[in-house]
Symmetry: C2
Subunit: 408 residues, 2 copies
């Protein structure tokens, strides 16, 4: 038996079934027209943003990194809840604009921005987080050509990284940002070239669950921002402090203590160095805002045994849930939180492997899980499906196509 990850708070049972937004999984599937189906909860998203508003200092702006989930109805909702969007491509810019987001509340980071992407962003007044000196030159040249004053920030590759981070995005040689010792010179040249100086973006890692690690990193970020500002010699209007807040996916993971993070940050804000006295601060979060608010539902289409093991074969799989299958950024596969949605309050009674429908041994959703006895027709739920699910999975693989999605 292998343990399942912890089911996020906010899901309940109705008539013995997993329910979300006051209706059962089956009812949502019927309404959506079938499986596989991603359900995202408006209520849980609102509650998550509310939790941050309550625990983080008032002056901290909260940005949504839309790469986590760019489903149109989620973007429309998020636009009303957060203070800005962070995007990573022209495709995401289009999605953000289609969701009605004010482009001046959008910032664009990403190491491989094409020329046309830079131009589109500058035309719309989006803030560019510059990733290299070469990109800076291109942005200034485009601004000149269009006669638009580009809004430019610098993404810093700091010398420190976020301890306990699932993915390092700072520290050492990285494709992201500009090494901290070259930032001041570049910033001065941008300012003297007439760009609108939008400050610094210091993103250090993601998926951290340790409050103390995040507190330490945020302190480092503020110190570095103050030092760089002194070096630059111009006021720092904006500081994007990155995000990195993680969610529990696996057995034994403890939820991040955001209260402790928020209170430490409030203390720091209360005694800011003079360089940062006029600065507007933001954090950017993706996974933390939406990850736990979504569930992926697939139907069991076969139940079989092989060498004494039970296999529950679903009509879903890694083509929608690459990360849950263990094939995206993880070395050792562990089980995401999962359940038999249609037997949600039944007692577990057997060990079963929940797999996808793809003809590859990579397509596993839960290994040796202890679950209620399930049959063909039952629904399986994989939790923590709100971030990096639908959009980060190879939906065309084996001719399958995308899953349905609903914001409920």
């Amino acid at each position: 038996m292998k343990p399942l990850g912890p089911i996020p708070a906010g899901f309940e049972a109705i008539d013995g079934e997993l329910a979300i937004g006051g209706r059962t999984a089956s009812a949502w599937v019927e309404e959506a027209g079938g499986t596989p189906l991603f359900l995202y909860s408006q209520d849980l998203i609102r509650r998550r943003v509310e939790l941050l508003r309550q625990t983080m200092p008032d002056q901290l702006r909260i940005h949504y990194a839309i790469k986590a989930n760019s489903y149109h109805p989620i973007l429309e909702l998020m636009r009303t809840l957060v203070d800005g969007f962070d995007i990573a491509s022209a495709g995401e810019l289009t999605m953000a604009l289609e969701a009605g987001q004010d482009p001046t509340l959008i910032s664009f980071a990403g190491p491989g921005k094409r020329y046309e992407e830079l131009e589109l962003a500058i035309r719309h007044g989006v803030t560019l987080n510059l990733e290299s000196e070469g990109e800076a030159q291109r942005a200034l040249a485009i601004g000149d050509r269009l006669d638009i004053r580009p809004r430019l920030a610098i993404r810093v590759n700091p010398s420190f990284e976020l301890r306990g981070s699932g993915m390092k995005m700072g520290g050492g040689a990285k494709p992201f940002g500009i090494d901290q010792d070259r930032v001041a010179a570049l910033a001065r040249s941008l300012i003297s070239a007439g760009a609108e100086w939008r400050g610094l973006h210091i993103f250090t890692g993601s998926q951290a669950l340790d409050a103390l690690a995040i507190i330490e990193t945020q302190a480092n970020v503020l110190d570095l921002a103050a030092r760089l500002t002194a070096e630059i010699g111009s006021p720092l209007s904006h500081l994007n402090m990155g995000g990195g807040f993680g969610i529990p996916y696996f057995h034994g993971d403890q939820a991040l203590d955001v209260e402790t993070v928020g209170s430490a940050l409030a203390d720091r804000f209360a005694s800011l160095p003079s360089e940062l006295s006029g600065t507007e601060f933001a954090i950017e979060l993706g996974r933390y805002l939406v990850g736990e608010t979504g569930v992926y539902l697939a139907r069991i289409v076969d139940r079989k045994e092989s060498h004494g093991q039970v296999f529950l074969v679903t009509d879903g799989g890694l083509h929608h849930q690459l990360a849950a299958s263990g094939n995206f950024g993880t070395v050792v596969r562990r089980n995401y939180p999962a359940a038999i949605a249609t037997r949600y309050d039944a007692e577990p009674e057997e060990e079963a492997n929940i797999v996808g429908c793809l003809c590859t041994p990579l397509d596993r959703l839960a290994d040796q899980a202890f679950v209620p006895r399930a049959a063909v027709g039952d629904l399986v739920a994989i939790f923590c499906a709100g971030a990096y699910g639908a959009s980060a999975s190879p939906s065309a693989f084996l001719g399958q196509g995308p899953a349905r999605e609903r914001l409920v």
Copy 2:
């Protein structure tokens, strides 16, 4: 420095540039309208099939497992070159039919076939490789209801597996096929229920480079098929022996010696047990037929340094080349074969990291590669891109969208 994988035979240089099908990479990119671009070579595909025709015994049928690459022009070409298609979903069935394939030359394997998929396949006279007793019941019931005699084979989960296989698909508890000791009973029940008995499918693994391992596995497959046929007590019309032929991706990989495999198989065919005297044999290959015939081209959009390392940032990435990035079925990331396409015959002179444009540290195409000095505007080539590239990657990730594809 980390070594790159071996560049497959058949690529050449014209005017110092990588060329395919007699034209340079730049010329193809211009014609296609931009990058990223997958180019697949008709000529290399034809040569690969020809190599198999020459080395394998005459009576061995060659099937194409279209999951490796289901790009429409490739399916149209393959239909004329091979003896049948193997599919894994109704989506792939539709693609095969659209490419003009005769449905009676199609077989359908996959552990999670939905009811509607079974029905569609039976209506078209496609051979179903049954994966469980439950699926067998459903297929028979659909045949009854439609008054069509279903064409049924059994996919066997053998007790042995393919040594040296990158992915095990036989041996031990598996979601694939029916454990070998339950096959005879099921086959007899299918035959007595009036189904058209289409024989056995014994698939054991994939991506093996060791000829002796494949020879041993093929011998095991033939022995098992003979034993099961004796147990079943009816002639075995068809035996799909699986595939498993690998291609060299990484430094040190040696190409599979198909001549040795073919000659050993010819010896076996010359002294078949009586149970298999009337059997038609097939192998199914995907990656082996198309993997080395494709190249992925991306343009360098930034060249930057960080902590003394060079990063060549391209407009491509893991959203088209998940496996090359090391995030699909591999534990330790190694470099695929790669080159600076526009400086193909230049001497290597620097160590560079070739990365994708996605804002994630997972997006790496070649780590610490020794390459000619490249600049913004140069094209990068990632080889072995003909299989499990475009269709097996999360093309919508970060709002990027699919790559262009051309068969040339």
